[in-house]
C-alpha cells in the first residue's frame, strides 16, 4: 500500500475515533474536576514548603514558587496525553480475540493501532486538558497559572507539547506491544506506565529532585512527556536550550516506535487469537 493511501486510512481512522471519544462528555467534566482538585492540593503543598522551609532553602532550588505553581497546572493539563492504561478498545481486542479482525485489514497493525490509540486519547481528553488549563488561569492570584516566560518560550512549549503527544503515543504503543503477550497479564504494563508517570515530572517537578540525579532525569525518555515542555513554558529552561530538548523527545519517540514495531512484528508470528 502506498503512502497516500496509508495516510488517508490513518486520517479516516483518526476522525472516527475522535468522534467516538467526543460522545463521552461527562467523562471530560469529571476528569477536569479531578485535575483541578489535584492541582489545588499541590499548589497548597508547594506554598507551604516554599514559605516555611528552613532558611527559605526551597527558594534556591532553581524553581520559584510562581514557576512551580504554573508547572503544576500545566502538568495537569498535559497529563491527559499520558496513558494510565492501554487503550480500552485495543485491550478488549487483545483479550477476546477480535485482534483477528484487525489483522484482516490491509494495514500494518502497528500503524493502525498507533493511530487508533492516539486518537482515542485525544478524543476524550483534549477538552479536559484545555478546561484544566483554563481553570488554572482563572484561579486567584497566588494559585494561578502564570503567563509564559517569553513569546519564544510559548512557541517552544507548544512545539514540545506536540512532540510530547507523539512520544506518549509511541510509549503507549510499546507497552501495548508488550501486552500482546496475553498470558503475562496486566502487571508489567502497569509497572511501566506508573514508572513513566513518576519520571515525567507530573507528580513532582523533576527540577526538585536531588541534584545528583539531574543529568539522568534530563536524558531519560519520560521527561519528554511533561517536564521538557513545562520547563520551557515557565522559563527554567531557556529558549536557547529548547531545540536539544525537543530533539531528545524526537529521538526517544523514534526509539520507542522502532522497539514497538519490532516487538509487535515478533509477537504476531506467534500470536494466539483467543476464542473460537
Amino acid at each position: 500500500m502506498n503512502f497516500r493511501n496509508t495516510w488517508r486510512a490513518c486520517s479516516s481512522l483518526f476522525r472516527i475515533r475522535m468522534a467516538e471519544g467526543l460522545q463521552y462528555r461527562v467523562s471530560a467534566i469529571s476528569g477536569t474536576m479531578v485535575g483541578v482538585f489535584w492541582a489545588l492540593i499541590e499548589c497548597v503543598l508547594f506554598t507551604v514548603f516554599y514559605t516555611y522551609s528552613e532558611n527559605g532553602s526551597w527558594n534556591n532550588n532553581g524553581l520559584s514558587l510562581p514557576q512551580a505553581i504554573s508547572y503544576v497546572w500545566l502538568a495537569q493539563g498535559l497529563f491527559v496525553l499520558q496513558s494510565m492504561n492501554i487503550d480500552s478498545e485495543i485491550m478488549s481486542k487483545i483479550n477476546n480475540g477480535d485482534v483477528g479482525i484487525e489483522l484482516c485489514r490491509p494495514m500494518n497493525l502497528y500503524t493502525h493501532w498507533f493511530v487508533k490509540s492516539s486518537a482515542g486519547k485525544l478524543g476524550t481528553s483534549w477538552i479536559r486538558g484545555l478546561a484544566t488549563v483554563l481553570a488554572g488561569l482563572l484561579m486567584p492570584a497566588g494559585y494561578a497559572l502564570g503567563g509564559p516566560a517569553s513569546l519564544p518560550a510559548l512557541f517552544y512549549f507548544l512545539l514540545s507539547a506536540v512532540m510530547a503527544f507523539v512520544l506518549c503515543s509511541a510509549f503507549a504503543m510499546l507497552v501495548t506491544a508488550i501486552r500482546l503477550n496475553i498470558t503475562w497479564g496486566d502487571g508489567p504494563t502497569y509497572m511501566l506506565l506508573l514508572l513513566s508517570g513518576i519520571l515525567s515530572g507530573t507528580y513532582l517537578p523533576l527540577r526538585l529532585w536531588p541534584d545528583f540525579m539531574q543529568t539522568f532525569l534530563y536524558l531519560q525518555p519520560f521527561g519528554g512527556f511533561a517536564d521538557i515542555p513545562l520547563q520551557l513554558y515557565i522559563g527554567s529552561v531557556a529558549p536557547a536550550a529548547a531545540l536539544p530538548g525537543i530533539g531528545l523527545q524526537l529521538l526517544w519517540s523514534l526509539i520507542f516506535i522502532a522497539a514497538g514495531r519490532m516487538i509487535m512484528k515478533r509477537r504476531l508470528h506467534s500470536i494466539i487469537v483467543q476464542g473460537g
Binding site: M1, A19, G100, C104, P106, V273
Partner: protein, 271 residues
C-alpha cells in the same frame, strides 16, 4: 486453483492446573503444559467460484483453519497458497483481496453510525470513491439496509447488524469470502434473506465462499460441496448427497422448517 492447502499443521499449548486439594496453589508455581493439535495435516483445494461448506463438531479445527487461510495465524508447518500468495507472509496484500464475516465478532465501530464505519473501510481498502458509491448502494439495496445507515451500530438488532457486516465485508469486492457462522442467532426470515443474498453474490461475481456453520440448512441451501473436519483431520470432501446416502439412506422426505417459520412470520406480518 484459488485455495491450495497442503499438510497444514497447527498446535496450541494448553495450560492445565494440577488436580487435587492443593492444585490451585501448586498451579500458581508450576503448570502442566500439553500440546493440543488443532490441525493435524489438512490438505484441500478450492476452485474459483466454488461455494464450499465447512462443517465439523465444536473444537474440530474449523476456525483455526479459517484463521490460517485469512492470514491471522501462522501454521507450524505445511504449505498454503491463496490467490497465489502465502497468507501469513504477505498478509497485507492477501487481506486486501479477501472478505471475512465472523458471526460472533463485529467489524463495525460500535458507537458511530454504520455509514461512518463504511467510510473508514473505504479509506482502509483504498476503494475509489465512484466504485464505493456504486457498490454501497447496490449492497444496501439488496440487503435492505439503506434505512439503517445513519443508526449507531449499538442500536441495531442482531439481524440488522449481520446484514451490515456483510456489506462491510463485500465493499471492496473481495475475490474470496470467509464466513464463520454467519447465521448464528438469526431468525428464519433473516436466515433465508442472507442465504439468497450469498447465492446471488456468488452467481453474479463468482466470489469464492467458504462457509463454516452448524446450521445444516445453510449448507443444504448453499453448498454443492462439503468438507467435514474432525480432530484436525479432513474426514470427508465431496457432495452433500454423498453424506446423505451413507448416513441417512432411508430419509425420504423432510420439512424445510426455516421456510415454514419464515412463511408464518410473513403471514403474521412479523418479518
Amino acid at each position: 486453483m484459488q485455495i491450495r492447502l497442503r499438510e497444514i499443521r497447527k498446535s496450541f499449548k494448553v495450560y492445565k492446573r494440577p488436580e487435587g486439594k492443593w492444585g490451585l496453589l501448586r498451579g500458581a508455581f508450576m503448570r502442566n503444559v500439553t500440546r493440543v493439535d488443532a490441525l493435524g495435516g489438512i490438505s484441500f483445494d478450492i476452485e474459483e467460484g466454488e461455494l464450499v461448506g465447512y462443517i465439523g463438531p465444536n473444537g474440530a479445527g474449523k476456525s483455526t483453519s479459517v484463521k490460517v487461510m485469512s492470514g491471522i495465524l501462522t501454521p507450524d508447518s505445511g504449505e498454503c497458497t491463496i490467490l497465489g500468495k502465502i497468507p501469513w507472509k504477505h498478509r497485507v496484500e492477501h487481506v486486501s483481496k479477501i472478505g471475512v464475516v465472523f458471526g460472533q465478532r463485529s467489524q463495525l465501530w460500535w458507537d458511530v453510525p454504520v455509514a461512518d464505519s463504511f467510510d473508514v473501510l473505504k479509506d482502509i481498502y483504498a476503494i475509489p470513491p465512484g466504485d464505493y458509491r456504486l457498490r454501497l448502494s447496490e449492497l444496501s439495496a439488496t440487503l435492505g439496509v439503506e434505512a439503517l445507515l445513519r443508526t449507531p451500530v449499538r442500536q441495531l438488532s442482531l439481524g440488522q447488524r449481520m446484514r451490515c457486516e456483510l456489506v462491510a465485508a463485500l465493499l471492496h469486492r473481495p475475490k474470496l469470502l470467509f464466513l464463520d457462522e454467519p447465521t448464528i442467532g438469526l431468525d428464519a426470515v433473516s436466515k433465508l434473506a442472507l442465504r439468497n443474498f450469498l447465492k446471488e453474490e456468488n452467481r453474479k461475481y463468482g466470489i469464492t465462499m467458504l462457509l463454516t456453520t452448524h446450521d445444516m440448512d445453510d449448507i443444504e441451501a448453499l453448498c454443492q460441496r462439503v468438507m467435514v473436519i474432525g480432530h484436525g483431520q479432513l474426514l470427508y470432501d465431496g457432495q452433500l448427497s454423498g453424506l446423505q446416502q451413507k448416513y441417512a439412506p432411508e430419509v425420504v422426505m423432510k420439512v424445510n422448517t426455516d421456510a415454514m417459520i419464515a412463511a408464518m412470520y410473513n403471514d403474521l406480518a412479523l418479518g
